[in-house]
């Protein structure tokens, strides 16, 4: 195509010996076959739906759901709220477990990946055993195993406890929560201001360094802005420390915050499983950076931490990020295994809705739409990040 001479474009001939004619012919044939199959299936589906008296459409979203939902990030009452609300709760629950899972799996995976390269033989071996074992056992089996273990915990009455405030029983984990007051809100605002301030100060420091070669210290200002400022605001507003403690009341606990056994199982299972893959990615990423890079950094007089941050990590990240993206995608998709242990995510609520309303096609469309959107968002974000850290070649 990029040759110096371009071949003059010839008119399309209706002849078997013209490759362009053949290409068009075959495309028409194949697209025609696919269209025929789709037409046949759609026709069958319409007839089947008519025979079963199922009306297609999303009108059912406005009907009262009546399905009990154990945990929800938004207020929900099965007696009044609609299927639409229930399905939104499903999305929120999926996002909740996927987001927390991604963060925890990244942390654990990175630690384990570094652990496998440790000079300590025992640490290297034990992390190796962990990675090799858990990645070769189906995630579903692991989830069922953890769930059965949690179910086998004692009842709330004789719950396992850490001190007198964290309780572990077959109804999940109970822990104290802070009673949220306006002082806390202001402290949060102050923290966000601190984050912005740190960012600006860091940029300023960077510009000074570029201009003068001297870099003003960042960390004391950052410490002041990120910790001092919120603490100060919180203290000025009276430092409220009211805590909602879980108290055993009859057969269950009252007060405090709960982590449900379903959520806990799913999170632990997803994190432990995905972390094995992330660990391998991190390990190979670090190993991909040549030892000479460390030595060269040291020869320039950089500290070990600076070499890691400014030389090794940026190069390792280039190797790490693309496969990491697919692991994040896998984690988000694997969160659909929630349906097996009764955590009410997208799949689970769609399943219930589908059984109650018979709206199979709409239910499947909803599931597909949600997961495709999540997958696409993760892909887009990670591609953006990847482009940001990619090697800028001349």
């Amino acid at each position: 195509m990029s040759g110096a001479r371009t071949v003059p474009k010839k008119a399309l001939r209706i002849s078997w010996s013209d490759p362009r004619f053949r290409a068009i012919f075959w495309q028409i044939v194949i697209v025609g076959i696919v269209a025929l199959i789709v037409w046949y299936l759609v026709g069958n589906t319409n007839r089947n739906l008519a025979a079963r008296h199922i009306a297609t459409g999303f009108a059912f979203l406005g009907r009262v759901a009546g399905i009990p939902i154990g945990e929800s990030l938004i207020p929900y009452n099965p007696a009044i709220d609609t299927f639409g609300t229930a399905l939104i709760i499903g999305i929120l629950n999926t996002l909740k477990v996927a987001l927390i899972g991604v963060v925890l799996a990244t942390i654990l995976g990175t630690l384990v990946g570094i652990g496998r390269l440790s000079g300590n033989w025992l640490l290297a071996k034990i992390t190796g055993v962990y990675v090799e074992t858990l990645r070769d056992i189906p995630l579903l089996l692991q989830l069922l195993f953890w769930y059965a273990l949690l179910q086998g915990l004692p009842a709330p009455r004789n719950a396992l406890h850490v001190g007198d405030f964290i309780f572990l029983c077959n109804r999940g984990i109970r822990m104290p929560t802070l009673v949220w007051e306006s002082a806390d809100t202001w402290a949060l605002v102050a923290f966000l201001v601190g984050v912005a301030g740190t960012w600006f100060w860091n940029r300023h420091a960077h510009q000074r360094q570029e201009a003068t070669g001297h870099r003003p210290a960042v960390w004391p200002i950052a410490l002041l802005l990120l910790i001092g400022l919120p603490l100060g605001v919180w203290g000025l507003l009276g430092a409220p420390t009211a805590v909602d403690m879980p108290v055993l009341h009859g057969f269950n606990f009252q007060g405090g915050g709960t982590v449900s056994p379903e959520f806990f199982t799913l999170l632990v299972g997803l994190v432990l499983y995905t972390a094995t893959y992330i660990a391998e990615i991190v390990r190979s990423g670090i190993q991909a950076v040549a030892l000479g890079q460390w030595e060269a950094g040291g020869a320039l007089g950089l500290s070990r931490g600076a070499v890691l941050r400014r030389i090794v990590l940026p190069q390792a990240l280039r190797v790490i990020v693309p496969p990491m993206t697919s692991q994040y995608l896998n984690l988000a998709k694997n969160s659909s295994l929630a349906v097996y242990i009764g955590y009410q995510d997208v799949m689970s609520i769609a399943n219930t809705t589908l059984n109650q309303t018979g709206q199979a096609i709409e239910g499947i469309a909803y599931i597909m739409a949600v997961y495709l959107t999540i997958s696409l968002s993760i892909s887009l974000f990670m591609n953006w990040y990847n482009a940001r850290i990619a090697l800028v070649e001349r």
Binding site: A23, N120, P138, Y340, M368, L372
Partner: protein, 383 residues
């Protein structure tokens, strides 16, 4: 560790007391010092981990061996009396459930006196994997071996010939189902994935390319549970009235379509990593597209993708466990079925451990093989 020998060889004059390195820098003691107690940080890690590992091993040994219940008495009606297990709950394992249920879990509800047939099928599958792993069988005849084995498995499972009574699909279960779903999934998805990968790479067929991209991205964007679910709920709607497709077949088709999308990306990777000169040389020789693809491009590209192909197979082997949701009796579902028997209900840990060991043995063997192969191919490439 080999430092002493090297020094001794390098300098034969160094004998006697002076040549001896200080105690504690070589030998087992030196190794321990270097690898376990190299620094205060390493020492702390070793002590902490050592303590935790020791606790775990001792606890597991007490639970799994010392306090375990290996057999339970049966009533004259053949009902197990699991009181001993119930008493040991929490302190000792109940391995009696394994000896009671292992045939049910491994071979499902297949007629008891005919269970040698699924057992042979399992061996056939393992033999098939073994043969496929050997490089001297990597040629066209391998496809015939696969077809032959799969036909033989079908004959053995269904029966109805050679004096073997007919056994319907709904009585199949356990390991043969798991192996069948995974193996047939790969065998049928592979040709599909090659076609899709070629279609996605084609430059002059935009409509076909778009279809292929749509298929691959749609399937890869949704979880397998959703696809299985779809196969279970939507498939009956797609079929003309009165036509009922067996559940096993429906799920098999879903797994093939799912695996096909992932395999297509693997194959595409192989096609992409092949130098362009190969295809151009074939063009220069005047080969047609199909001849070029069949004799020049694919034989080289497919060789490159064997390790990721094995990894995809491992993934789909593990993923077959998800058929639990639609009640197809694979290995995991049979484990759940075994646990639904009233006297044994509370001994899930033991059953799950057994299942974990079975899955692990298969997956670990395959991943070990795939990594060895990867190293070997990389070496050949470097040369």
């Amino acid at each position: 560790m080999s430092q002493t020998t090297v020094d001794a060889v390098a300098d034969p004059r160094m004998t006697g007391a002076r040549a001896r390195p200080p105690i504690g820098s070589t030998g087992p003691l030196g190794w321990v010092r270097a690898n376990l107690f190299g620094s205060w940080w390493s020492t702390a890690v070793t002590l902490l981990l050592g303590y935790v590992i020791l606790r775990v091993v001792v606890t597991f040994f007490l639970w799994g061996v010392v306090n375990a219940v290996w057999t339970v008495p049966y009533s004259p009606q053949g009902i197990a009396n699991t009181a001993a297990c119930q008493n040991a709950k929490g302190i000792g394992a109940c391995w009696a459930i394994i000896s009671d249920k292992y045939r049910l879990i491994l071979l499902g509800r297949y007629p008891y006196d005919q269970q040698w047939r699924p057992a042979i099928c399992v061996l056939l599958f393992i033999g098939l994997y073994g043969v496929s792993a050997m490089r001297r069988f990597w040629r066209k005849e391998l496809a015939l071996i696969w077809i032959g084995t799969l036909v033989l498995v079908g004959v053995l499972m269904w029966g109805g010939v050679l004096g073997m009574p007919m056994v319907a699909e709904d009585q199949w279960g356990g390991l043969p189902i798991t192996l069948m779903l995974a193996t047939l999934g790969l065998a049928c998805a592979f040709p599909l994935s090659v076609l899709v990968a070629l279609g996605r790479r084609s430059t002059n067929l935009p409509a076909i390319k778009m279809l292929c991209v749509l298929y691959v991205e749609l399937i890869r964007g949704v979880p397998l549970v959703a696809v299985l679910f779809m196969a279970n709920v939507m498939f009956p709607l797609f079929m003309p009235q009165g036509v009922n497709i067996d559940k096993l077949l429906r799920i098999q088709v879903a797994i093939i379509l799912f695996t096909g999308a992932y395999l297509a990306e693997v194959v595409r990777g192989g096609l992409q990593s092949l130098p362009k000169g190969q295809a151009e040389a074939a063009d220069a020789l005047g080969l047609s597209y199909w001849k070029k693809t069949a004799f020049v491009v694919l034989p080289q590209a497919l060789r490159l993708v064997i390790p990721p192909l094995v990894n995809t197979f491992i993934g789909s082997f593990k993923d077959t466990s998800l058929v639990l949701i639609i009640g197809l009796f694979d290995l995991l579902t049979m484990g759940k079925v075994a646990l639904s028997d009233a006297p044994w209900q509370s001994f899930s840990t033991e059953v799950y451990l057994m299942l974990a060991v079975i899955y692990f043995v298969f997956c670990f063997a395959m991943s070990k093989y795939s990594r060895g192969l990867e190293r070997e191919l990389a070496r050949a490439h470097r040369r």
